[in-house]
């Protein structure tokens, strides 16, 4: 028989779960408000085209 204390969710797991949900909500809000990949730079919008062609190729 499993002890009742083992059946309960440990406190540290609850703390992690709350923090995790908060971070996920924050990320979703940032994505919805236009702070997604490549958009949180001051220039905004999607990947810009360099004005001077012929830069170093990677």
């Amino acid at each position: 028989m499993v002890e009742p204390s083992d059946a309960r969710t440990p406190r540290w797991v609850k703390v992690f779960a709350i923090a995790g949900v908060a971070v996920v909500v924050l990320v979703v809000v940032l994505l919805l408000t236009g702070h997604g990949p490549g958009r949180h730079l001051r220039h905004g919008g999607s990947r810009p085209v360099p004005s001077a062609p012929g830069g170093p190729a990677w």
Partner: protein
Amino acid sequence: MVMRPPVRRLALVLHVAASVGWLGAVVTSLALGVVALTSGDAGVVRGVYLVLEPAGWATLVPFSLAGLATGLVQSIGTGWGLVRHYWVLVKLLLNLFATAVLLLYMQTLATLADLARDPGVELAELRTVSPVVHAGAAVALLLVALVLSVYKPRGVTPWAGPTAPGRRRHTPPPARRGPAVTAS
């Protein structure tokens, strides 16, 4: 399937190596981001933003995927299991989250590299705190995962099963003489 001890040790070495490599790569990216924010040399600032993307593809992404893969092998190939213990499950979720954010953030690093390549973009426009924020958060996340790996805090999930290591069990009381009493 539980791995034999020599294989288990090799898998552990690979997992530690991948994780240490990932942490080191993230700390390097953090340092480069700080250099780009604080340096007064335009060449250095542009150089940092140019190198962050290829460095990310060469180190951050491979180490993150290797850490995830070796971690899966470690958990499945040992008695710990993938979802039996909370600390293993939390580490898995942290790793998946960090890898997903990293893969998305590679687009931002590509944009930064394009801007750094463009001589028409002023230095003040180019500087951004974004790489420092993301790398700093990644360092914090990886340190949490490291602490979980070392301390292995107690707690088994509802999916652990009755024979999971670390699950305490009551020793059944000695049988009494006389008629058995059944609970109904």
